[in-house]
């Protein structure tokens, strides 16, 4: 074919394909039941990656992904409704949840129980203060002041929504800036886990008060017992069972696929188990990552290049030998983390873009609601910053405090349940949504600023 023929074919192809691709001539071969989901996935991923331009301005890429989501989710205001189906697409919704589960599993893998237990006490203190202060302020101070017409049931749910911590956003910021191993990061992660357990208790209590009118002390005690028992026994069972399961599967095959699949399945199983007990799946995934460490996989193959390097190391001369041994040591231990990374690259951005898309900019239009929301948002910030003061000595309390601020999907879940019970209606719902949006969107730049200042 001559060059001209080639271009003619390309041009003909374009002329034929463009209308088909834009308007969708649609799936004559019985294929493509999920083709549109493939397109949405690709566009979300490309938009998310393009948004990492925001790193030029010193911001973490998670903020770019959230903002890209806000833009895509509000294009309908300009008549562009192409992306609207994403908001209600069940499969995209699942992929987003899978994304945040993978993120917390990944962070669990990079953490370990010993390090976490070192920050045990400050984490507990921060978590308790981070629940008590916002709840108290919401129910007894800011709520009655800003919304005098709200009854006690409504105030209870506003208070509950204020206690939430969405650890996904903060964890991403720490990860983007390479600060996951700092003491501040460990405290925030630990506090977020405890916070989720307490949030579950609060939710059960306020739901009971709203529906039954009251709750007994023993019922509260049972909920607390159940949640703690789950977390404790899941981690203990995991630590006992994981090496055993690993042993049996390594007898079947010691390949890299087996090693990685085992790890990933543990993350999914813990996410499921947490959800079954009423906790967030991400908390389970984090616990699953936490119990897995290199020793669990010691019977499995190392990556091909590590094997090659180990072989070379055997007869290398002195200085090279040391360097090779070092590379072998570092990369064989990083292996499961390296394998989960590409999977995270594909799914984690979907969560943040979809979260951004849930922001409805028209809620900001009503100035009365906006004013109330700004007041509640101030309380939301203040309550968690106060909690940060309990982080103990030797850490930057502001980083811990702001790290606890984002309410994210957890705050939304509380609002949604309140709406389902009929105590969170129209305007109040918008107030909570705006609070969630602002705490979620404003935290990454603030946290980035604080972390950079600390380093310099």
């Amino acid at each position: 074919m001559s060059r001209l023929t080639v271009y003619a074919v390309v041009a003909a192809g374009l002329v034929y394909m463009i209308p088909t691709l834009v308007w969708g001539a649609g799936s004559e071969g019985g294929h493509g039941a999920h083709a549109l989901t493939f397109l949405f996935m690709a566009l979300i991923l490309l938009a998310a990656k393009a948004s990492s331009l925001i790193e030029r301005f010193g911001q973490p890429s998670v903020l770019g992904e959230l903002l890209v989501g806000v833009v895509l989710g509000n294009l309908a205001l300009f008549g562009i409704t192409f992306f609207e189906p994403i908001k209600t697409d069940e499969i995209i919704g699942f992929l987003a949840e899978l994304g945040v589960v993978i993120l917390l599993f990944q962070i669990g893998l990079e953490s370990n129980i010993k390090e976490m237990s070192k920050v045990g006490l400050p984490a507990i203190m921060v978590a308790i203060a981070g629940v008590v202060v916002p709840f108290g302020l919401g129910v007894y101070v800011a709520g009655p002041l800003l919304m005098p017409e709200a009854d006690m049931n409504t105030l209870l749910f506003i208070g509950a929504a204020l206690t939430a911590t969405s650890v996904g956003i903060t964890a991403r910021v720490f990860k983007d800036l390479g600060k996951l191993q700092t003491r501040e990061s460990q405290i925030v992660l630990g506090a977020a886990v405890i916070d989720d357990v307490m949030g579950l208790i609060i939710l059960a209590v306020v739901s009971a008060i709203v529906t039954v009118g009251s709750i007994t002390g023993s019922a509260v005690a049972f909920i607390i017992f159940k949640a703690i028992l789950f977390l404790g026994s899941a981690i203990l069972i995991g630590q006992i069972l994981a090496p055993t399961i690993s042993l049996y599967f390594s007898k079947i095959h010691t390949g890299i696929g087996m090693k990685f699949t085992l790890a990933f399945a543990v993350g999914l199983l813990f996410a499921y188990a947490a959800a079954e007990i009423g906790l967030a799946p991400i908390i389970g995934a984090f616990a699953g990552g936490l119990i897995l460490d290199a020793v669990v996989f010691r019977r499995f193959k190392r990556p091909d290049y590590v094997e090659e390097l180990a072989e070379m190391e055997a007869d290398a001369p002195a200085p090279i030998k040391g360097k090779l041994a070092d590379i072998v040591h570092r990369y064989e231990h990083r292996h499961v983390e390296d394998l989960i990374e590409p999977v995270a690259q594909v799914f984690v951005p979907i969560f943040f873009v979809v979260t951004g898309m849930a922001v409805d900019l028209t809620t900001f239009a009503d100035t009365t609601i906006l004013a109330t929301a700004l007041g509640i948002t101030a309380v939301a910030f203040f309550g968690k910053i106060v909690a940060g003061l309990f982080a103990g000595k030797g850490v930057n309390k502001w980083i811990v405090g702001f790290g606890m601020v984002p309410r994210g999907e957890v705050g939304l879940i509380f609002a949604t349940i309140g709406a389902g019970l009929g105590v969170i209606t129209g305007g109040v719902f918008s107030v909570i949504i705006i609070m969630v949006i602002l705490t979620t969107l404003l935290t990454p730049p603030i946290l980035t600023h604080l972390l950079r200042k600390q380093t310099s």
Copy 2:
């Protein structure tokens, strides 16, 4: 805590958790809309990995995954209905399709256009004969003889399923036996790729006949023209656009996440585009993989360990220098393939297990169906062995012929699409599944025998 206390807590946890996990106390916190899907994903992955025990018997692991699917899908016969919801779960269905799209994208990445064109005339001849002979025998001879009650639409789909060649299974067999570089292997791989494309044209044609009722010669010509035009122009457009898009995105960020996401998005976009034009998403994904080669990503970072090794290589003494340069060269070029591998590990097995689950064992009880399946399987072998006769001089024609026999996932896709169109029902579906399983199961030992005989 004493050891005893720990075990007591674990025991209490187990006693409490087991009924909860089995019967589902369920999601009090409003979480876990997708928890059950996480559980199913984990169980499918673990079952798939456990099934790789089948490799001990010289069988490819894909067969283990299919058989595990057959088992899970038929446990209801023994009163265990736990896995039944997987069959109709829309999200699991999507994940399975994503899995096969990723598989074909991966195979596309590992192929390249130059190598394919080198295979030349024998591969084209084998591919054409491998499509014409089984299709002709299926539609006009064995089909009408063995299934006199089947109408033309059904026969067309049986014929189409007989034309399939599974690239993955074929390549895997040669790879396991260390014979990938033989002339026989090259011909089989090239022919299998061409066969896939022809099979998909056949699929488009038979699908049109089934859905529209009839098809004119000009419509067939148009489908062929459209398919070739799509593939040709997609590949050309991709080859022109991919480096440009890659250039712009590399200006935003040169990290590994960007590199991998770009590659993955290309696979998804091609899958979407193919579906929109009426082709299978997998052929689009394959084409997407085909156009991406190392040069597209030359502006992006190499893996960390490759950077380290390249640095070491600079001042290494002679023999070490050469070895390091070799490792650097091999692993930097394999990078996108290495990154897609863990993603494939997570999703590809879902496709095969879910496909196996579609097998209804109760149809095996029907000796008529079983006899028919054995007849169709004989035709499946015979048609491809005849195709091997066109492999030209200087090669073992039997190896080429048997190398083309496995129908694998492509045959299953044809059957599934036929089922979706309502022309492949109960018994006929089982006939095709049995044929696929037998061609996949019997080929590796035969091929092993032939290859060992050739070497000795």
